[in-house]
């Protein structure tokens, strides 16, 4: 069993590395794979280095962070809520992060610098997380926690729509809509360095829940009698999700379906073990987003297709296929 795990993990990580390398090569300006990798390992100040270091490397790193974070949060939520349909957006954190970004753009706050919109989006996501955590304190039934998440999502969606409908600035509306579609076009190494600590801290918090999530397989009451402190687990999952999802959504917008879809791919490889599903979801999520971003760059459209649109377009039929296969 251990050897199989090692083989699976090695293969997945090998695929992530390959996709990462290819993503450094793909773009409007042709750079060979060897040149692209050479600029990363031995940077020399030429055009290729500028293209790779300023445009492609930050984007590839961000793809890895976004995919890993969203997939991990999705797997943790599905395991904790014992609901295979749970994902970060269903508990409202993505939509409150989006609301923060919309407030920043509509109010003109985004003019203060590159980090102004991500900052407000991050605050929005964390606020959603805090509301969810305080509701979680009072609510024992995890199904009701999902309903609170749906409520948070609905109210923040309604306020976002209100701001959009009241805004008289067409440029702001345009920017809001593009932001909400999710894209990695303009990310820099500064963005990735800003997002990474939150993803690492939140990710560590979620991965630390693996053993308790395994015990949750038989429900919260049984887990509690085995020594799982349910309130502590609840807070760790909510805070870990809020940190990871807020940080990535704040920077790249809403990338749908990764959090929902990836755990369903990881679960059979992990033999349905909830904790292992979390660990497998991280590289698989990173791989999916890297491949999706490569596909977006290769798709012959007038402007570059938004990544969030692409993941939704591909994710929906794939997800329906998974449901059909799992229901026999």
């Amino acid at each position: 069993m251990f050897r199989n795990d090692a083989i699976i993990i090695t293969i997945i990580h090998g695929l992530v590395l390959a996709a990462f390398a290819i993503s450094l090569k793909i773009g409007p300006v042709p750079v060979s794979l060897i040149d692209a990798l050479a600029t990363v390992t031995h940077p020399v100040w030429d055009t290729n280095t500028i293209i790779v270091w300023d445009l492609r490397l930050p984007r590839s790193v961000m793809c890895t962070l976004v995919g890993g974070a969203l997939a991990l949060a999705g797997a943790a939520l599905q395991s904790f809520l014992r609901n295979p349909l749970a994902e970060p957006s269903i508990v409202g954190i993505s939509s409150t992060a989006a609301l923060g970004a919309v407030i920043s753009i509509a109010s003109g706050f985004h003019a203060f610098g590159a980090l102004s919109t991500p900052s407000l989006a991050f605050v929005g996501g964390l606020a959603g997380g805090i509301v969810l955590a305080s509701a979680a304190y009072r609510i024992k039934n995890t199904n009701n926690l999902i309903l609170v998440g749906v409520g948070i999502s609905s109210i923040s969606g309604a306020i976002t729509s209100l701001i959009l409908s009241l805004s008289d600035n067409p440029f702001a509306i345009n920017e809001i809509v593009f932001w909400m579609l999710g894209s990695l076009t303009d990310v820099s190494l500064f963005h990735t360095a800003t997002v990474a600590p939150f993803v690492i801290i939140g990710g560590a918090l979620l991965l630390g829940c693996r053993r308790d999530l395994n015990l949750l397989s038989l429900g919260g009451d049984t887990a509690a009698t085995i020594g799982v402190v349910m309130n502590s687990l609840k807070y760790r999952v909510v805070i870990g999700t809020a940190l990871t999802v807020s940080a990535v959504t704040a920077t790249v917008g809403i990338i749908g379906f990764i959090g929902l879809m990836t755990p369903h791919i990881a679960r059979p490889l992990a033999r349905n073990e909830p904790g292992k599903t979390l660990a497998y979801s991280v590289p698989i999520g990173a791989l999916i987003v890297l491949l999706a971003d490569i596909a977006v760059r290769l798709t012959p459209t007038v402007g570059e297709m938004k990544l969030g649109v692409f993941t939704a377009l591909l994710g929906t039929p794939f997800f329906l296929y998974l449901i059909k296969r799992q229901s026999g």
Partner: protein
């Protein structure tokens, strides 16, 4: 040796008293049947003793941290909702890993503890079967094995015989009897008075949240007492 003790333990839900003050103790090697009509408070009493719901009064488990409680009493819930289709071995391994992480003086490995428990429960061949493929009786045995690998002196079981055929019921009861022979105590809610008379060493009869009888099965479960225990409320 007394394992679980309560003094005036009561449960109030939405200003309605579901369990009247109850004082009882369960000692080593006892096989206790908790009987009563549906809604008499059997599951609520167990959940209160397990500290899964708030209660008033004393229970020796109340003041203990979750890890210490987990070392004293295990629980076989009536809930059979399987979301992730794991194998029987995985099910037992998660609990054994938690136990080995918390206990200082454990012998052998997690794998050995799991295998020994599967053998004790008579289900070594089920180890790689997925939970959703098990019959009702097999699943009950697997869930009891899960509780047993926790290695606690006391196990609570909520309706372990529910929806089982007569043969499966006997298998589960034989397992419970073997547990008691090994010094473990069992507190189980059951409805089958004849099986309680045959297999259990003590019966607690609950009616409207009050213990109305506590004693030897053959005395408590006499035919004329059944009307009082199960009769209209």
């Amino acid at each position: 040796m007394q394992q679980i003790t309560t003094k005036n333990l009561s449960v109030l839900i939405k200003n309605r008293r579901i369990i009247e003050p109850i004082s009882l103790s369960i000692t080593s090697g006892e096989m206790v049947a908790l009987v009563g009509a549906n809604g008499s408070g059997k599951t609520t009493l167990m959940r209160a003793m397990l500290q899964l719901i708030p209660h008033h009064g004393y229970c020796n488990l109340s003041a203990k941290p979750p890890i210490e409680r987990a070392a004293m009493v295990s629980w076989v819930s009536q809930d059979r909702d399987i979301v992730w289709d794991i194998t029987v071995r995985q099910l037992l391994t998660y609990t054994a890993e938690k136990r080995y992480a918390n206990e200082k003086h454990v012998t052998g490995t997690v794998g050995e503890a799991v295998q020994d428990t599967l053998n004790f429960c008579g289900i070594p061949l089920l180890d790689n079967r997925r939970l959703k493929t098990l019959s009702g009786g097999e699943l009950t045995l697997a869930l009891i094995a899960r509780a047993l690998v926790q290695n606690t002196p006391v196990t609570f079981m909520d309706e372990p015989l529910a929806s089982l055929d007569p043969f499966q019921k006997l298998k589960v009861l034989e397992l419970m009897r073997n547990m008691a022979k090994n010094g473990k105590s069992v507190l189980a809610t059951i409805h089958e008075a004849d099986l309680a008379r045959q297999y259990f060493t003590r019966v607690l009869a609950l009616r409207n949240g009050t213990i109305i009888a506590d004693g030897k099965p053959k005395i408590v479960l006499r035919k004329h007492n059944l009307e009082t225990i199960y009769g209209s409320r």
